[in-house]
Every structure is written in structure tokens, then in C-alpha cells.
Symmetry: C2
Subunit: 202 residues, 2 copies
Amino acid sequence: MPPELIAAIEAIQSLPGIGRRSAMRIAFELIKAGPLKTRHFTNAIEQLSSGVSTCERCGAYVSSRTGDDKTFCSFCDSPRRSVSSLCVVENPWDIYAVENTGEFTGLYHVIGGVLSPLDGIGPDELGMPRLAERVRSAGVSEVIVATNPSVEGNATGHYIADLLKPAGVKVTRIATGLALGQMLDFAETQAISQSLRARIEL
Amino acid sequence: MPPELIAAIEAIQSLPGIGRRSAMRIAFELIKAGPLKTRHFTNAIEQLSSGVSTCERCGAYVSSRTGDDKTFCSFCDSPRRSVSSLCVVENPWDIYAVENTGEFTGLYHVIGGVLSPLDGIGPDELGMPRLAERVRSAGVSEVIVATNPSVEGNATGHYIADLLKPAGVKVTRIATGLALGQMLDFAETQAISQSLRARIEL
């Protein structure tokens, strides 16, 4: 096998959820498609790095190529979203999983992970002071913690409850209708929808 | 969702065997990986177009970056491969599927498809005169037809048998231990191995 083909198969196989056979199939398909289509594909991929950044307020994905007048993401900029309700998620992509349910009309806040003392991830690494400041200054009345249903995700929820409840903020947690350990962004929309409705106060 | 993210997800989803969720997961992983790793990935993909061509004798994949002294692929160039036995496959990637069995030590010949009159693919489009000429001039004694086990794959095998048998060449067909319609490059190595051993004369 030509070294270029071996290298491409290995690169494709390094993507999440792609086994060796799928990687080979994709590589062969790309060779067959030719340079023009392949270039179209790699261009689209490179736009991910150069064209996508995160909203400086909430951490959602935002196009880097918008004009100077637009600093925030489409959620933060929308006049139709409720500012009194804030959904806390681990990662930017979790926003789309919640958004697909159509159940939530508030704003989002990405904390970038979960509390994990052994990995050196404490409240500061997750920007907890910034979250508290945002909740206070924006007059948020309810914070919905939609971290993944893991031990750390639950612990992070309880930390946020302890942090914000003294200031009179209602802190809720999406119900775990999902199996413990299941990732939010891979869950069925229906399951996320149900767990939003059945959220419990912490 | 930023337009760049939507475009990337669509591009990834256009790859064979990738659904929408997998495409999203891959896109998010690439954003997370950052520009350096993404560039490494797209470089490897672009090498497929610029760095991989096909052997001018047999049609196998070959690195375009080899020196001028090496015109043919590693199969054609190998002194250890038997020149008396030729395995005919539809596509270059099918070679690796046969090669993985370790059962075949001859050379390969890629015809690029199967006979399909309704699509305008006849003997000339598959280079049948060139195949006949190669078999004649190289002194090939057996041609193993390893086209996919489809109606067209079988018909192509019979065409090759009719073409070469008058010249005293033995033409065999790999046994269909595989379900009709199953693609060769996705079959179990063991199944291909068995069908090579149980090949029948046409």
C-alpha cells in the first residue's frame, strides 16, 4: 500500500467512531472522488479551525467571520431568548443536544468540563466565579445544570447549587432518565426532552 | 450553528458510512483537537489526491512520489510474485482484500468496474483488449476473476472466460461463499480465503 494511503487511513481512523475498515472505505472513496471533491472536503474541515470560535459570553460556537458589530453568539444576541433561565453544559456541542428538544428557551453557559480534583480541574478551571458573576449581573432566576449524568457531572451540579442558592437563585438538574455514564450529545432527543421536563431542584 | 460548522458536518456526512450524529461528533472532535491536528489530518487527506496514482500496468494504487526508475507498483515490481497467475478485480482497493488472505501470490489486474451495457460500460470501457494483450504477452496461464459476486460481476467473469479460453488460458472464478450482492472489500478475510480455494473453472 502506498505510504500516502497508509497515512490517510491512519488519520481517518483517529477520528472518533471510525474503525479500520470504515477508514479504508473512506480513503478509497476520497481517491475515487478526485482532487476537486477532496479539496472541497478538506477546505470545509479547515474552516472548523479558522472559522469557528466560541462566544465570549457563553462559550457557544460562533462564526469567527462575523462583523465587528456582532460579538456574541446567536443565542446571546437573540431578543427572543429568555434571560432569566440559564442552562449550564459541559461542552459547546451539548448546546445543540438541548436545543433539539425545543423545550428550552433561555440562554446557555459552557463550563468546559466537570469538577475532577484528581485531574486538577477545580471550580476556577471551570470558570465558576465567572458563572456566578454572570448569573448575578444578568438577573438569572433559574440555572438548569445539564452536565452529563456521570458522578462528576452530578458533583458539579451540586457545587453550582451550593454556589448560587445563597444568592436566591433556583438551581435545577436535568433528570437522569439516561443511563449513568451515557454522553449527553449522543442521547436520544426524546430522552433529553423528558429529563428537562422532569428536572429536580438541587 | 455557525455556517462553517454546518458545512463541515455536511462534508463529513457525505463520506461513506457516516451518519449525521457521527459527523457531528467528528466535527466537534476536530474543533477540540485544534488547528495543528486538523491541519495534520487534512494534509494526510490531500496526499490521497496528489500522492496516490495507479500502476500503469495493473491499476493498483502506487505512490506518485516514487523516483523515475520505478514506474510500476510493488506487486508488478516484486520478483517474488508469480507472473503465471493473474487476479482480475473491479477496483484497486479490492487488491488489499484479496492480498489479506495470503492465498494468492500472482499479479493483479484492475478493470475498473463490471460490464453494464445500460450504463454504457462495455468491454472497451473495462480495457478488455488490454487485458487480453497482457495475458498473452506475459504468458499468464491462469486468470482468477475476483469481481464482486453480483449479476454483473458474474457476467464479466463469463466474458473474460470467453475472451481468454480460446488462447488456452485457464479462467477461474472465486467461489461465491459470500451472499450475492455483498461487496468484496467489506467481506471477511476468511470468506474471501475460502472462495479463493474453492474457485471453479469457467
